[in-house]
Each structure stands twice: as structure tokens, then as C-alpha cells.
Amino acid sequence: MNPIRSFADLIPDAVPAAESRQGAERSIAIRGLAAYYGKHKAIEGIDLDIGPGVITAIIGPSGCGKSTLIRCINRMHEVIAGAYATGSVTLDGTDIYTPGSDPVQIRRRIGMVFQKPNPFPTRTVYENVIAGLRLNLPRKSKADYDEVVERSLRSVALWDEVKDKLHDAGTALSGGQQQRLCIARAIAIKPEVLLLDEPCSALDPTATLKIEDLLFSLKIDYTIVIVTHNMQQAARASDRTAFLMADENHVGHLVEAGPTREIFLKPKDSRTEDYISGRLG
């Protein structure tokens, strides 16, 4: 058993895109996207297609704008004071950046999980799962909520671990459990797309593998985009990969995107090869 394996061993054999529940819906097209923090331009000229039923990984060195890019997909970027984006991000044919569109509605369709697990500290495990429903959707019966809680926790493989602790504080769980709780909270409102911004960077390897397994089972129902600085993770867990890099002005550009196998084993751009082989970043 050699613990050091090459990427070729990590990447699962090419699997056909999982059969999507809603056919070709839930696909995202990013065109000419640029994002700014005040006067500073963080990313520029991003064109990227994100398909349904697959996991798309966004990789790149620190400061290349991975997180900025993923936050533009559900308009969370503009939450930061002075931040804005130009260009278009289209979900199912509708541009989420058209002037009349409501970011609040968009975020209900495009859920997000963050780097640091962030369950609501004043809410129990149970209340955390249904937080999105309770905050934003019409009130439902206790039985409905019970059903949502069990279904969401089962789909993140957390139910068996916490079913006796549903009424403990969400923050009382371990880090890995908290992050799965956050994923459960995100999918409880049934979004179409799930964005994960370095979801495992605060977790240990065991918890990381659990999350990756979980993503595999979730990709049937959700279009998944994951930002990661861990290339093994991108190789193991994604179907498609997009590689971002910052130019000399610290503006992030998309270097190349394609099936994970191709990006890791036969990259077209020399910069991709340098990064993946560890000569860069």
C-alpha cells in the first residue's frame, strides 16, 4: 500500500453524467463575468458552463478569485460593502443579474455552504435544518417539518449520528457534523444548485471524505459547484474542473475548464500543468 498516489489513481473512471431529475435544467452559463471590490478588480472575463448532474470543481492558487467567482453565482459577492459584478450568469436561461431580479429569490434557488461551518448558535440541530423554511417560507405543520428534518439529515448521512440530539444546539456537534448540518440546512429548502466554498478546509481527513461521499450522492438532485484548494479533492470528487489563475495585476482569469480527467492528466495550458504538478502556487 503506497499512500502517495498519482492523480491518475485518484480520478474515478469517466462516468456518464448522472441522470438528472429534471433533464437539462439547472445548468448555469457564465459569460464575460468580472467582479470588483470597490476599485479593485478581482476576476475578469470569466466564461464557464456548469452542467447539471455533475460536480464542477474550481481550483487555483490562493488569491486567484475562486471564492469570488463562486459567490457571484448566487449574488453573495455583492453582500460585501462596495463589491459588485458585471457580465451575466444565466440559470435555466434567465440572467440572474438582470436589473429586476431579486437576489433573495436567486439565493433560494442557489444554495451555498461556506468554508467555516456556520450553524446558527441559538438554534438546535432541528431548528438549524428548517431555518430556511421557517425564515422564508409559509409556516408548515410540525409533521411536515419533522419530515424535512429527517429527509435532509438522511441525505447528508447525519441522521443516525444526531437523531437523539435533535434538540441540542447545532454548535454542540463536531466540526464535520456541523458542516454536514449546514449542507442539510442548504438543501432543506430544495435549491436547484448547491455551491460549496472550500467546505472541507476546516475539517479533518475523515470528515472530508464523508463530505465528498455525500457530494456524490447529492449530484443526482443538485448541480454542484465546489471551490477547493485541495487538488486531491478536486481529482477525487469532481467530474469537471475549472482552473483559475491571477495575472500580474492580481486579476483572476479562467485558464481552462474541462473534464477533470483531462485537466489533471492532459492539461492543454502549461500553467495548468505547472500548478497541478506542484511547480506553481
Partner: protein, 287 residues
């Protein structure tokens, strides 16, 4: 030779370290000593006058022994309640605006105004309320007193709640926003509940401060030696009562001034103790 010098230097360093430690410990004990002397003196002089009459009777006419401060306790409680009713919404809303929504020139102006308001001497607040309300509208009254107290409480509440809200990690706001939650709901149902104990502590702090204010009340609620529950009439308050008793020429009234001080301190201590107790239980439940 060299080693000897090293040892000497080390001994010198140790000595100067000990000296400076001694110095700060001494000064720290001094601040504790001041508190102990004040509290001890108040207890020694006031405890003997704490009878049932003291809490249930109004002051006796000049020169007569006996009587109490019941009307002042009533006045303080009533005016604090009304002042809280006015100041808490304004102060909390200001803090929420500054932290959660405010940016740009207007927010800067609001922040600056709160800063100035906090530095206003309380007698100035009293003069202002006297000129604006007492002289033309209300006359000397509980309402005017409450208004003056509210003006003093607003910046205290706004600044302490602002500091507390800033402690809420941004990740929490983002978590709620990413669920498609409108901003006002994020603030009301996620941010505020997370720091509710801190907000309550800030409010208590402002109430405690207002409970001890004397100068603005001299010019607004005036004081009253008879029972009065009507906020439209001149109203007694504990600090005013302490002042009146203290400047009198009678020994019995001097003792009553001490006793009133004791009661005022006890009320403030009980209020802050209650907040500590409640917030600890609240924290315990949420963990």
C-alpha cells in the same frame, strides 16, 4: 568573569521585574480599596435607618423624625420605565442601522451625533429639556424627567449595542443570506437573538446610569415630597431625595440620605445581577 556579569544582570532583571509587579498590584488594590471604603461607609451609616417605614412612608415635615422615601422609589421606577420606553427603541434601532445597514455619509453623521450625545454633560441635557419642555409645554413633571433620562440613555444603549452587534461573526449573516433571507429578517431573527444577552446588558447599563442621574432631574421632574403616580406632575426620584436629605440640617435626614444611597446602589446591583443571571441561563440553554 563573564559569567559573573551575566548572573548580576539576571539578578537585576529579576529585581526590576518584581518591583514593577509590586507597583501595579499596589495600584490595583487601591481601586478595590476605594470601592470598599465607599460601600462600607454607606452600609455603616445607612443600615440603621432601613425600616419598613422607610420603604412605605413619605418624608415627614421639616425637623420631624421618621418617614421614608416611598414616593421617590415610585418616581424613580415610573420615570425609568417611561425613559426606557422612549430610549430603548431609538438606541437599539440606531445601533442596528449603524452596524447592519449604514454606510456612507448619513451613517457617519449618525455615528458622530451619537458620539457627541454621549459626551454631553447631563446638566446640559437637563437645561435643554427645561428650555424646550418644562418652560413651554409640560411644566415640572415626570414626563420631562423621563425625557431627560431618555436622552442620556440613548447614546449609552446605541454605543453598547453597536459594539455587541459588531461581535457577531459575518459568517452567520452570510449563512442566513445564502438561504434567501431578506436582510431585515437576518437582523431580526438571526443577528439579534445571537447577542440578545449582550443587548440586554447594554440596556441595563443605561438604566443603571439613568437611575443615578441627579442634575437633569433637578431641572425637569423637580422632586416631590408627596405620593404622586401622575407623570404630568412634579415627581420625586431617589437621587433627588438623597440630595434633599443630604443638604438638610437634621441628623435623622442625613441618616436617611445614607440609607437612600444604600437602596439606590442595591437596586442597581440587583438589576445588573438579574441580567447576569438571566443571560447565563439563556446561554446555558442554548449550549
Amino acid at each position: 568573569m563573564h559569567e559573573q556579569a551575566e548572573t548580576r544582570r539576571f539578578a537585576r532583571r529579576r529585581a526590576s521585574n518584581l518591583m514593577s509587579l509590586l507597583f501595579v498590584v499596589l495600584l490595583a488594590s487601591l481601586s478595590v480599596a476605594i470601592l470598599l471604603v465607599i460601600v462600607g461607609h454607606i452600609f455603616a451609616n445607612g443600615l440603621s435607618s432601613l425600616t419598613l417605614d422607610f420603604f412605605t412612608k413619605i418624608p415627614k415635615p421639616y425637623g420631624e423624625d421618621g418617614g421614608g422615601i416611598a414616593q421617590a422609589i415610585v418616581g424613580t421606577i415610573e420615570m425609568l420605565l417611561l425613559a426606557g420606553l422612549m430610549a430603548i427603541p431609538v438606541g437599539v434601532a440606531t445601533a442596528i442601522y449603524l452596524v447592519e445597514f449604514g454606510s456612507g455619509r448619513f451613517a457617519k453623521t449618525v455615528g458622530f451625533a451619537i458620539e457627541l450625545l454621549a459626551e454631553l454633560p447631563s446638566i446640559v441635557v437637563g437645561v435643554f429639556v427645561w428650555a424646550l419642555l418644562v418652560r413651554n409645554v409640560t411644566g415640572y413633571s415626570g414626563i420631562a424627567g423621563s425625557t431627560a433620562l431618555a436622552i442620556i440613555m440613548i447614546p449609552i444603549i446605541a454605543r453598547s449595542v453597536e459594539e455587541i452587534l459588531k461581535l457577531v461573526p459575518n459568517g452567520l449573516r452570510e449563512a442566513a443570506l445564502a438561504l434567501g433571507t431578506p436582510r431585515w429578517k437576518v437582523v431580526l431573527f438571526v443577528v439579534v437573538p445571537t447577542v440578545l444577552p449582550g443587548i440586554l446588558t447594554g440596556i441595563m447599563l443605561s438604566l443603571a446610569r439613568a437611575a443615578g442621574e441627579t442634575a437633569p432631574l433637578l431641572l425637569t421632574s423637580l422632586g416631590n415630597n408627596f405620593f404622586n403616580f401622575n407623570l404630568q406632575k412634579p415627581m420625586a426620584a431617589m437621587p433627588l431625595q438623597i440630595y434633599n436629605y443630604a443638604v438638610s440640617p437634621y441628623d435623622d435626614w442625613h441618616r436617611k440620605a445614607w440609607a437612600s444611597t444604600l437602596v439606590l446602589i442595591a437596586i442597581v446591583a440587583i438589576m445588573s445581577g438579574a441580567v447576569k443571571f438571566l443571560t447565563r441561563r439563556w446561554k446555558h440553554e442554548s449550549n
